[in-house]
């Protein structure tokens, strides 16, 4: 073989070797993935249908069954009762439209007044008083109950709000009244993070007994409720779902939120009474049952 032939062979080898060696670089350059274009940034996590809270069902009206002569119902507004006008409005409307008298108790000078007034009425409604009852008032209330008068008391957990001066805690003062009826109210609020029907403090409750008070009450919606502890002499009326939690106890349980002791009924929430809330779920059934209890037609 001539020397020129060897040079040609070396050149062929070099060209082919170089071409194959750099082919990876060329191919990767040609087929290198381009920077991805902008894609929609909202993943399924933010999809409205996944997150938007359902609108609660509002239906029905309050029906008061049974007949009775005209009665007078006293609504206590003298113990710094929380938003008593708003919360008692539906009760007032229904009682008035059924021919009964509703009287708000809020005298300028309270001394001796409560004792006199309770003797003139047939039933008493107490909504979240934040001022203590005096010994004389408690005695008058007990006498009223013992003589057959009916009382419905709405309590609630302590509330913390913020104003310009900082945090303000409001505590309902019902403990001294309730001890006479084997019922005690908690200070913490109830909440449910599994299937709650509003924010976490909006909870569902259902009947806990066969009492007339719990009739047709399968799904009550409560907004800021506390739990009730019930002694042997009292009877639970409503209880929460087992997944309900307490802000103070921090454990899941079915908490009692309404209970009865003879002529006294205690409910752990009063916000469900408002015009905005009384038609949610079976709330109107519960309100109707409570009115019948007050009128002694249950």
């Amino acid at each position: 073989m001539r020397p020129g032939e060897w040079a040609r062979l070396v050149a062929v080898f070099a060209i082919v070797f170089a071409a194959v060696s750099v082919s990876g670089v060329v191919i990767s350059g040609v087929f290198m993935p381009q920077p991805p274009s902008e894609q929609p940034t909202s993943p399924g996590v933010l999809a409205p249908e996944r997150n938007l809270a359902p609108t609660p069902v509002e239906a029905g009206s309050i029906e008061v069954n049974g007949t009775t002569s005209q009665q007078t119902i006293l609504i206590d507004a003298a113990h710094q009762n929380t938003q008593v006008r708003d919360r008692a409005q539906v009760l007032t409307d229904v009682l008035t439209s059924n021919g009964h008298q509703v009287s708000y108790y809020n005298p300028e000078n309270k001394i001796g007044q409560f004792e006199n007034r309770v003797s003139e009425v047939d039933a008493i409604v107490i909504i979240a008083p934040t001022q203590r009852y005096t010994q004389a008032e408690r005695t008058a209330l007990n006498d009223f109950v013992n003589e057959g008068g009916r009382v419905v008391l709405f309590t609630e957990p302590k509330r913390t709000s913020v104003n310009l001066f900082g945090e303000v805690t409001t505590r309902v003062r019902t403990e001294s009244i309730l001890t006479s009826y084997a019922i005690s109210a908690g200070t913490g609020y109830l909440y449910n993070l599994n299937g709650n029907v509003g924010t976490f403090q909006t909870i569902a409750a259902t009947s806990a007994s066969n009492q007339r008070l719990a009739e047709n009450v399968e799904n009550v919606t409560l907004y800021t409720s506390t739990s009730l502890t019930v002694g042997d002499e009292a009877t639970p009326v409503l209880e929460t779902q087992p997944t309900t939690n307490s802000s103070t106890l921090r454990s899941n349980a079915s908490y009692t939120v309404a209970a009865r002791h003879g002529n006294v009924v205690v409910v752990g929430d009063s916000e469900f009474l408002t015009e905005q809330n009384y038609r949610k779920g079976d709330n109107e059934e519960l309100v109707g049952n409570l009115i019948e209890f007050l009128l002694n037609t249950d």
Binding site: L9, V20, V22, G24, T41, A53, G188
Partner: protein
């Protein structure tokens, strides 16, 4: 004199053999050559963008962070992103905006988060798409939830409004549902991005507890105890970089021509002048700690 047929065939065979040997040798060396060239090309531009989410989040800070993330996505020299978070959150819309920008970035490049002093509420929401969350052991992390603040009825001024919800923006029920919807969104995002790592239930997440970093790593709210440098090193490893430069998000945005349009557009719309917080008196915050809002209704008042 012409070559004999047998000599010609032998030469063709020789050439064919040389070509085959060259092909084999080239194939063997090709991957090494490709890697060497690639490395040489990359050496000049291997960048980790460190983007800071700092302080209370407003729509202004969200725009800045989102623009930096946009620049990082568009800039080929940025191989990975590290989010440096020192934020207790802020408005929910700001947190959502940053979350969406981080999510878009994480689809294209490795995104790693590093918690410095705090990543709570909206600050935590923002970093959820990161593939790994480093935190200092004592930093507050978590607080998955929202706070609704709406104006109180105000009779101090005489005013005429066009509808019943003009002042407060809706009923208490409407507001409850809005807070609930955003809570579902936030908790849903945590479960979506971190469900496999979490050692706590969805209900426990929804309690909105804030955890110190060490506990957060234990329960899956975060991944590793580590510093910013640990996060950068991991991001570089994820991007396959042996040598790299960490640059700030603002530097990436400055050197990126693509982002100038976004910045210009932002200036035209004047987000500062239309700050939602100053216009909308009703606010939903993804914030840990006390809001500086005037007296109003705090929907999740606690005992």
């Amino acid at each position: 004199m012409s070559p004999s047929p047998s000599g010609s065939q032998a030469r063709r065979g020789l050439y064919l053999g040389v070509i085959i040997i060259a092909l084999i040798a080239g194939s063997v060396t090709s991957p090494y050559v490709t890697r060497a060239v690639d490395s040489a090309v990359r050496d000049g531009q291997n960048t980790i963008a460190v983007i800071e989410i700092d302080g209370r989040m407003t729509i202004d800070t969200a725009e800045t962070v989102s623009n930096q993330l946009y620049a990082a996505r568009q800039n080929d020299s940025v191989e990975a992103v590290v989010l440096r978070v020192n934020s207790p959150g802020g408005t929910i819309s700001a947190a959502e905006s940053v979350y969406m920008a981080v999510n878009a970035t994480a689809r294209q490049k490795p995104v790693v988060a590093s918690v410095g002093s705090i990543a709570a509420s909206g600050g935590y929401f923002s970093l959820l798409p990161a593939e790994r969350i480093y935190t200092t052991p004592g930093a507050p992390v978590g607080n998955v939830g929202v706070i609704g603040v709406r104006p109180a009825e105000d009779g101090a001024e005489e005013r005429i409004v066009s509808g019943p919800d003009k002042i407060r923006g809706g009923t208490k029920d409407d507001f409850r549902r809005q807070v609930q919807s955003l809570q579902r969104e936030f908790v849903g995002a945590v479960m979506f991005h971190r469900g496999d790592e979490l050692m706590i239930s969805q209900a426990q997440v929804a309690h909105a507890k804030v955890y110190i970093g060490a506990r957060a790593v234990q329960n899956g709210i975060a991944d590793r105890v580590g510093s910013l440098h640990d996060a950068i090193a991991y991001a570089a490893a994820r991007a396959g970089l042996e040598r790299y430069t960490a640059v700030s998000g603002s530097a990436v945005a400055r050197t990126s021509s693509t982002v100038s349009f976004a910045v210009a557009a932002q200036n035209e719309t004047g987000p500062a002048a239309l700050d939602a917080a100053t216009v909308d008196r009703r606010r939903i915050l993804a914030l840990y700690g006390q809001s500086d809002t005037p007296a109003g209704v705090v929907t999740n008042a606690t005992g």
